[in-house]
Amino acid sequence: MLFHEQSFLFIFLPISLLGIFIINRFVPRFAVWWIVICSFVFYSFHGLKHLPLLIISISINYFLGLVIEKNRFQNFNGNLLIVGIIINLAILAFFKYGDFILSNLSYIGMTPSQKTNIILPLAISFFTFQQIAYLVDLKKGVIRSSCFINYCAFVTFFPQLIAGPIVRYQIIIPQIINQAWRKISKESLWAGLCLLSFGLFKKNYLADGLRPLVDSVFNATNEGTTLSFAEAWIGSSAFGLQIYFDFSAYSEMAIGLGLLFGLKLPINFNSPYKSKNIIEFWRRWHITLSEFLRDYLYKSLGGNRNGVAAGITNVLIVMTLGGLWHGASWTFVAWGCIHGILIGFCHIFRAIKKKKEYRETRSIYNIFGSQLLTLVSVTLAWVFFRSEDFKQAFDISKSMLGLNGFDLPRFLGSYTNVDYLRFHGGLPNQVVNIELIPLYIICVILVLLVPNTLQILKIDTNGNSFITLPSPKVTFIAGVLLFFSVKTSFETLSYEFLYFRF
């Protein structure tokens, strides 16, 4: 049951909303129970056999949290936190990284080649991080524990359970305690509905629309095709667009669904491709993950307190682990590492600028150039994220960097006879579906030139979660988009969100 499937749109969502409406009216204190039941049902649809794991994980963390809170001023409290973190990471390592660890041990000859065949429990990366943050904050005394059912609602609230945002306890629990669902405003309902419509459309038409283009290019390299310069760039940038719309769609739907229940979830996505440097990119892409990594890992490692070099080393560690968090594969590690290096360069550049008191000129060329450079770097890095192995990643990267030569239009053929310039057309392998090029161009325009959904809906992205009533024009557009999204739910094919597999 995915957000864009009929079972969710026509059965689960109406029932859960109707349920909360009725309970709100008669016994509002039980509404949180209803939210938890709905969330468990939602999770069960994806993997009933992993439901016990979710419940066990919640129970262990909740009770460990109680012990940590009770003994906050005891000496052994720090050890309790370490035990808690180890338990969470051990569960994550066993289910997510078991095969990865075994295959690497077998590669260096330490174990025989075998697979555990463990199926990755859905959302494990998200609920593990969320609960680690909870334990750390309890230990620091930043938060105070609540009752078990509130805690369950905090971890499992279904709009954010599967693919984030990684919600902080201090953001969601006050809303649950204050029974936010009793005060659902008209603004919230309309904004929620509009976000849901926009998100559904982005997922169904933009992200899934680009999927064949991406798949054909990446699959071609598996079959031994050497991509041309243009094909490689189109393929990898199309993947950049696909994951952009896929993840922004999910994030918007999650916030929208939260608003329909009266709960405000944090912003997780804010036009990252408009960033002017890679640090800004990570402040706009998967914002809650970046914040988690910054607050619970980077700062714990010392941040940049010990100078630029130590800071860059810490960034590299954090980003590499962040890459590994996305998937149990060396390509994800490489992706994280590339981002770490890019952030490192950015820090060095900033340090030089500071030292030389270089004043940044805010000319259009400067802004455009830095935005383009960021976009190009991110697109190159996506190749490692999307590739199944290093061979594929290197093959595509080589083509993108022009190391496989350049393929140019036939009509230029007579001018030169240099080896690395071929004149069989820009897309000689015919792996790019030309039919999808207009969609690709539309997506590029939407990403780079059009305000994002949060801006259109005038939702404050600075953490105040201020919601205004959408304009009449936006409401009309939301109605149009909802029709097409509902229509798509009748079509045969539906693809899960890319972030589901993390």
């Binding site: 039919e435 009309f476 094919l493």
Partner: protein, 326 residues
């Protein structure tokens, strides 16, 4: 409150306008078929032409999907019984409604129709997810859809993939390629038999490893199929057209032997035709052949297979056609 009502009205109007727009898009692309529809309609057109040519002659029509096109030699049947015989084997994917709509138009008193349907055809659902069928009824055979019940029409309108509209436009306005390049390139003779493919290219192992899911899972004949066939058989009876049924040629997969589901499915099909009072010719085993007689899939025979299969069908048809002559 007024602001809320205003927004509600706008939201609903957006939804309704979008649905109207979608319907207009469907009308717009009706004459711009996607490649799949160009392919399947080219087969239907060719077969229909053969039917039209023989409209006023007494004839046998063997109807089914590609198992008929690649499995029956209608010229041999003609030689055996002295009656014009047309191979109306198209593609199972186009669905029974499309197949029968063409036959209904061009048959007359005294004709004989032999159903040789793939097992999957008995599972056809109008609102199912068969793209070949959808592409036809939203393309070259759009008129067929106008006779459907309103709920079926709505469901089908919603089911037709949006991406096919894009493909239709891209195919129609591609300046570098004529849509005709997507026409079927099988070589048909003047009686609708495929003549271009002669040899075996499929390996026995492949056939064994791909048992028909339509046969291996329990069959419930859908209400749509029941309705379509009952109507058709009644209309034939009213026009003095004889209807017979037989089994499709299939690879004799060891996985079918003593398989209770397979046996039950055979019985379901047999009972269904019996209830319609349509004689079932032969036994399922008569059309189940070994790997050497197949061309590329479990339904398509090679030239050797066609000979054997047609001979068996002729033998099984003899008692029926003698009765018919009397």
């Amino acid at each position: 409150m007024q602001r809320q009502i205003q927004r509600l009205v706008l939201f609903v109007s957006g939804f309704i306008l979008a649905s109207i727009f979608w319907n207009s898009c469907l009308d717009l692309v009706a004459d711009k078929p996607v490649p799949d529809a160009v392919f399947s309609s080219s087969i239907i057109d060719l077969k229909e032409k053969i039917l039209i040519r023989n409209k006023n002659t007494e004839k046998i029509i063997v109807v089914g999907g590609s198992n008929v096109a690649f499995g029956i030699d209608s010229i041999e049947i003609k030689k055996a019984f002295g009656i014009e015989t047309i191979n109306f084997g198209c593609m199972a994917g186009i669905g029974p409604e499309v197949l029968l709509s063409k036959i209904k138009k061009h048959t007359s008193n005294g004709d004989i129709i032999i159903f040789c349907w793939e097992f999957g055809l008995y599972r056809f659902k109008r609102s199912g997810s068969n793209f070949t069928y959808l592409n036809l009824i939203f393309g070259p055979l759009t008129t067929l859809r106008s006779n459907y019940p309103i709920m079926d029409k709505i469901r089908l309108n919603l089911k037709y993939p949006t991406s096919h509209i894009r493909t239709s436009i891209a195919v129609a306005y591609n300046p570098f390629a004529d849509p005709e390049i997507f026409r079927c390139s099988w070589n048909f003779d003047e009686y609708g038999n495929v003549r271009s493919i002669q040899e075996q290219i499929v390996k026995e192992e492949e056939l064994i490893n791909s048992p028909l899911s339509a046969l291996m899972t329990e069959l419930t004949i859908t209400n749509d199929v029941k309705e379509i066939l009952t109507d058709f058989v009644h209309s034939c009876r009213n026009n003095n057209i004889k209807v017979l049924s037989t089994w499709p040629n299939t690879f004799n997969n060891p996985k079918y032997i003593k398989n209770k589901v397979v046996e039950k499915n055979f019985l379901t099909i047999k009972d269904f035709w019996q209830n319609l009072d349509v004689p079932m010719i032969g036994m399922p085993e008569d059309s189940m052949l070994t790997a050497e007689f197949f061309h590329d899939t479990y339904y398509h025979l090679n030239s050797k297979g066609v000979k054997i299969r047609t001979k068996k069908l002729i033998d099984n048809l003899k008692p029926q056609l003698i009765k018919h002559a009397e």
